[in-house]
Structure formats: C-alpha cells, structure tokens
Symmetry: C2
Subunit: 429 residues, 2 copies
C-alpha cells in the first residue's frame, strides 16, 4: 500500500485534533478504509505547538508555504482560517497539483467560485466537510446518498456559540450579556464574539450549503444576516407562551422567484425536531422531493468533531489519489437568482412599548392595515411604572417589505415609544 | 458520457419509486453527479405494473434472471426482498460481474458474509444504504465522513411501524391492538405485522449497522430481540411519570467483553434527542471518540425515501464503474465476540400485580436482595376491585441474569399474581 503524504498547515485546536487522530487511528484507517496516511509536514507560526504535539524538526516548520512546496506532500490541509493568507495557500496548493482539505467557511463562502474552478480545471480534489457542520457529516451525504433528490429547502442551527447562549436564555432567563459572559467563561465564545453572535459564521455556512443543495452559486454577500444581540429574554418568554422556541436559524428555500436565503433569530414551533437541539449542538434539516425530511445532528464545533470531519476528508482525498472518484465540489450550474429579502412572505412577531392610553391599538392597527399586514394575535400586558404598556403582535403571513414599512411608520406614532423587537416566525411545515 | 445501464428486479413500492426518480431526475443526475443512468431492463412477476410505470416490452420482463443475464446491464438492483430467490439473484448477479444495489436487510443480516466476500473477490460494488435507515443516509457517512472515528455505540429507532404505534400509545393512551389496527388502516403496518412488531426488522438493521460501525461480523441470530406486543399503556404512563419515554430501541455497544447488541422496548429520558423522534420517523444515534454524538433523522420507510437511497447507491455504483473507488462493504476484520444478554448490566423497570396485604413488599425485596438486585424506587397504587395491587419497581444497575433469576422466583411467590412487565432503562449518557 502506497503511503499518502499529508501536509498540515495550522496547528490550533482543530489541527491538533487532526494530528491526534492520525496518530491514534492510523492502523484502523489502514484496516477500515484501505489508506496509509502519513503526516510528513506540519506548519504553525507558534513553535511551542510542535513539542506539544510531538512533531520533530523533520516534520515541523513555521512556513506554511514550505509545506505546499514540499514535493513529497500529496494532500494539503489548510486550517489557518480567514480569507487572507489562507486564500493564497489554497490557490498555491492547487496550482502545485495537490489535493486540498480545508475547514475554512469564510474562504469558501467568499472565494468558492475561484477555488472550485481551479480544482476542477486541474482535476484536483477540494474537500471541506468541516466548514459547514463541524463534525456533522452533511456535504458527504449531499453529494452521495441523497443525489437522487431535488431539495426545496435547507435550514439549520449551524452555530454552537449562539445556540448555547439561546438555550441558556430560554432555560434560565439570562439576558444576552450574561449568556455571552457564561459562554466565554466556558470557552464556547471567543473574546471577540462578533462572527458568532452577529450571525456571520452561520451566514458563511448557509451560503456554502445552499450552493451545494441548490447547485447554484451563493456567496456570503448574498445572505441578509441578523444576529442575536438584540434578543431580549422577554421575547423568548413570549415565544414560549405561544408555543414557540427562538433559535438562530440559517435558512435557504428554493422558490419560483429564486433562492430565499437569510440568517436571523426565528420562532419555530416548540414541538419541531429542531427546537430540541440545545446547547452547543448543531443540526441541519433538509427537505427533498423523494427522501422527504432529513435532519443531521451533532457537535457543530469543538476540536475533536471538526478534526473528525477533516480526517474523513483526508481519507477520501487519499482514496481518490489511489484511483477513486473526485469530490464533487459545487458544479453550481443552475444559476438561480437570489430573492430580495423584501419579497419574503412569512409571519412576524413584534413587540411595542406604547403609552398606556386609549387609541393606541387602533392607531397601530390602522398603519398595519395600510400596509396590507393583517394581525393574527395580540397580547397586551399591564402598565409599567413609567406609564408605558407592552403589546406583542403576531401577524398573518405578510411581505417583509410591507412589515418593515409599517414598523417604520409605527415607530413615528406619538403613542409608540419604541419597536422593541421584530422576530420572524417559521412554522417549518 | 457513457451511459450506465441499470437492471431493476422488483417493481413494488420502492421499485416503482426508483423508476419514477430515474425518469424525473435523469437530467439533474447527469448535471450534478456526472452519470447518465439508463433503465434498460425491469422485472416483476406482476405484469400489471409494467403499464402503470410506463415500461415497454423492450424493458419489461417477468423473469428476474433475464435481467441479470442481459449483457447490457451494468448494475443490478435487487428489490425482491427475503432470503430465498433474492439470495440466488444477488449471488448470480455478482458472479456475472455486475455491481449490485439492494435494500434487502434480511438478506444482508443473514448472508452478508458470503455476499461481501464474493463482491470483494470479484472487485465489484455491493451497496445497500436503503437496507438500514430507509431514506436516511447512514452507511454513506459511516464509510466516508466519519471514518476517522472509533465508535463505542450505535443505537436507534429503526422501525417506523412500531414507532408510529408507540407514539400513538404514548400520546393517546391506545393499547397495542388499537394502535396496530390504526397503523394497518393507514398503511403503516402490514396485514401480517410480525416482522415489525416483534422486532425482527429492527434486529436485521442493527446487525448490519453494528457490523459496519464496529467492523466485525454480526448476524441476525446474534441479536436478542423483543418486540412491543406485550407493552401495556400502563407502563408507558408510569414511564412518563418518572421522566421517561418508551421507544423500541435497537442498540449495539462495544464493551470490553464484546459487542452488546439487542432490540427491545426501552425507557429513555424524555429529554433525550431520540425521545422526540415520533410517528413513522426513524433516527440513528452514534458516539465516536472524536466526533462525539451524532444523530441522523428521517423517514425510515416509504416508497420515496427508500427509493431515494437506492438511487443514491445506483449513482455511486455508476461513478465507480467510471473509474471510482469501490464501496467499502464490511471488511469486518475485527472479529469481536458477541456478549451474552445475561451479562448486560443496566437499570430495570418492572411491574408486579400482587395481593394487597402485609408482607408483599418485604417478600419481593428479599428475593431481589438474594439476587444482588438493589431497588432505586417503588410506586404502589391502590387496590383494584379484585383485591390486587400494582407495584412498580425501578432498580439500580443490575445484571440481566440476576434480574431474570429474581423475577422467576418472584413469579412463584404466593403473594404475587404476575410479573406484568419488564422494561430495560437506558439513560444514554
């Protein structure tokens, strides 16, 4: 059996996990998958990691490009992250004729077209299972077991940090700041939590997923994105009262007018399978015309889970080098338009802080009617110390453009102090 | 692009679904997967199906062996079922040098060793995704994305008929007979429901799953199997009272003393992800050393879902013929022993019907203590019209052999009318 030589760039938590798996399971992988994987070069700018991971001077280097240039290396594993030097490395590795495995969602959601085209032109493998669902196998099943289907939607909980925070906000009534502090203390959120809490991580993942599922190019810039910073415990409590759970959903639907794609806090029925996906777990839910509904659940982050997906990709890339079938990246030949968010039609929940006096409900109702928004239910709660009242609305299906225009007007009403929240409601039927 | 010619044997609901997908998505599959699938022969003993499916005399035949013998056919799809003629057909197809796709769980759980060895010796593909989870991709992910892991367990709800019945027994308090009648009326259960309600279907599936997950041969005969016929609504209600849900679980654990494998009604925590898998849905749950917990959820049966998995396999077999990597069936090289059920250690729930008089609890407690079974909790309910009382026990972890011996003695006590039920409790931590 000819050994397949691996060059690894980036020895952070995921890279460390990859080194560990290649050591712990080398013989199992030979036995079960029929490939002999050998880590021949490994790069990181932090030299301290070499000793921690037991990598000698023959393997370790501080220069990632030296890994790519090494003629021995068959498969380059990029775990640097970001769209800067990682972009150069992936392009250079493909140009050098190496198969590439990466976990870099931002890179693929931004430069996917260039990277896939180059890999395709050179007949090289580019694999990226860890970029979407951490350890959850999703791209593999999509390009293998479920190829017989046309999918109408893909959605999911694809960010563990925010799902942990939302779970705590729901179960313990924590506010955003307290939940974030707790997630940071536990190592589930980074010091700068922007990519997670503002939804960009989820947006990159749904861009990649939608590209694969609908076979049409979707990039990060195509995804209207709203995070969970403005979610109040009050909204989560109201949701529970009416049978809903609030999750940060990444959604993509194939509609007659194009791909509807977005990331935002969403009220979903408390009984839906996705509603019980709690803590740092992630889940991806799909609907195909023959297979029906599918859900893939698991750890969306964490060193072990992501490393598992990376090594799965390395195994496949190695089998391909031994004469197997190339990975199908995204052929993306269907060229579907991206639908404007204004054209979304769904139900909406919103909460107003209003003056507690006669005529408020009527004034708001008039504006809604003017914008063709029809109300399904309304909850009004008692007056607060400052003479204000809280009113919660749930609408029937309405157009996003209409609801936004209506709320802009409602915000200007004398009797309205503020629009405290707006959350989209998805029944996921 | 060289067309890949498909021969299909068996035009029942799944076979009909396959014909439909090959028609509906032929062009999509060319575009997305790069293979041109052509159905050139199709066999069924029921000639009425040919017209229903639009199959002309050039394609249709009543002789399955004619499909196998046709030199044009590259891939044989066996959807006949059972271990009789289907066994002969699969062997003959492999001997004729054809790749084989099948959904036949009973066949693989019984004759897997012979079939995999023959396919391996001839360098041919044998694929069987639909045999385990219906439409749920599970064998694909196991042999691809998650190959980096050593799995310690695989378990799941793998029979839609019984899961539908249990859901109705739980939600509406139906008894077994009423739930079965309802399932039959809805087409979810067959006229002879034995394979489903007595657990044999689930046993075949867990035998295949355990073989793949632990890389060691497990056959149908290795699986102690108990169905749901004796489950009473009372037990389901008691389970709910103590925070559990009753599911027909198929489980396999890798232990130091071999593979622990079994199918039986099981109390699982109501908050576990598997507990909310309701109706005809199925789910398979795995724990790997790096990836952690994974769950795959979807439709376990139904024409569309199973046909989706079959066509996924056909696509892979076709790609392999074009120069791809062979499917890894089960190399099954690890030769782990199967652990005797008597050596199982878990918690047990059981319900006794006893005489309502002094000394009963003490007498039962003495027998349990004699057999090293220690009690965790006990619920006693009021006397019935005939002077009997019902007592429900939950034990601490005990050995199966001990609990069975204890119950045999308890059954003989003067004060005990009957052991109404015994259900294993799994906390799935």
């Amino acid at each position: 059996m000819k050994p397949i030589k691996i060059g690894l760039i980036g020895l952070g938590t995921v890279g460390g996990g990859v080194v560990e798996i290649l050591k712990a399971h080398h013989d199992d992988i030979v036995r079960h998958a029929g490939v002999d994987l050998q880590l021949v070069r490994a790069a990181d700018t932090n030299e301290a990691r070499f000793a921690q991971l037991g990598l000698g001077p023959d393997v370790a280097t501080t220069d990632g490009f030296a890994v790519i240039a090494d003629p021995e290396v068959d498969v380059v594993v990029e775990l640097v992250g970001g769209t800067g030097i990682a972009h150069k490395m992936v392009i250079e590795a493909l140009k050098a004729g190496k198969s590439v495995v990466t976990a870099n969602k931002a890179l693929l959601a931004t430069h996917g077209e260039e990277i896939f085209a180059l890999a395709d032109a050179r007949g090289l493998d580019i694999r990226f299972e860890a970029a979407v669902g951490g350890g959850i196998p999703i791209l593999g099943p999509l390009t293998h077991s479920t190829t017989a289907n046309e999918f109408s939607r893909v959605l999911g909980i694809v960010n563990g940090t925010t799902n942990y925070m939302l779970t705590r906000m729901t179960e313990a009534g924590l506010d955003f700041d307290t939940a974030l502090k707790e997630a940071q203390d536990l190592g589930y959120a980074e010091a700068d939590p922007t990519a997670d809490v503002d939804g960009y991580d989820a947006a990159a993942k749904i861009a990649i997923l939608a590209s694969m599922v609908f076979n049409s190019r979707v990039t990060l810039n195509d995804v209207p994105t709203q995070g969970i910073r403005e979610l109040a415990p009050a909204d989560i409590a109201y949701a529970a009262e009416i049978g809903y759970t609030v999750k940060l959903l990444a959604l993509a639907n194939k509609t007659d007018s194009g791909i509807d794609i977005r990331v935002h806090p969403t009220m979903i029925p408390a009984k839906h399978q996705l509603a019980s996906v709690d803590g740092v777990y992630n889940a991806i839910y799909l609907t195909g015309d023959f297979v029906g509904d599918l859900m893939f659940f698991g750890e969306g982050a964490g060193a072990g889970a992501a490393a598992s997906a990376v090594v799965g990709d390395i195994v496949e890339a190695a089998r391909t080098l031994g004469g197997g079938t190339d990975a199908i990246g995204c052929t993306c030949t269907d060229n579907l338009p991206i639908r404007a968010l204004d054209d979304l039609v769904c139900r909406y929940y919103f909460r107003l802080i209003v003056a507690d006096r006669a005529g408020v409900i009527a004034a708001v109702a008039r504006v809604l009617a003017d914008h063709r928004v029809s109300m399904q239910s309304l909850i009004q709660r008692g007056t607060t110390a400052d003479g204000m009242a809280e009113v919660v609305y749930v609408t029937h299906a309405a157009r996003e453009g209409d609801i936004q225009a209506a709320l802009a007007e409602i915000r200007e009403l004398d009797v309205v102090s503020s629009v405290a929240s707006l959350i989209r409601v998805e029944d996921l039927a």
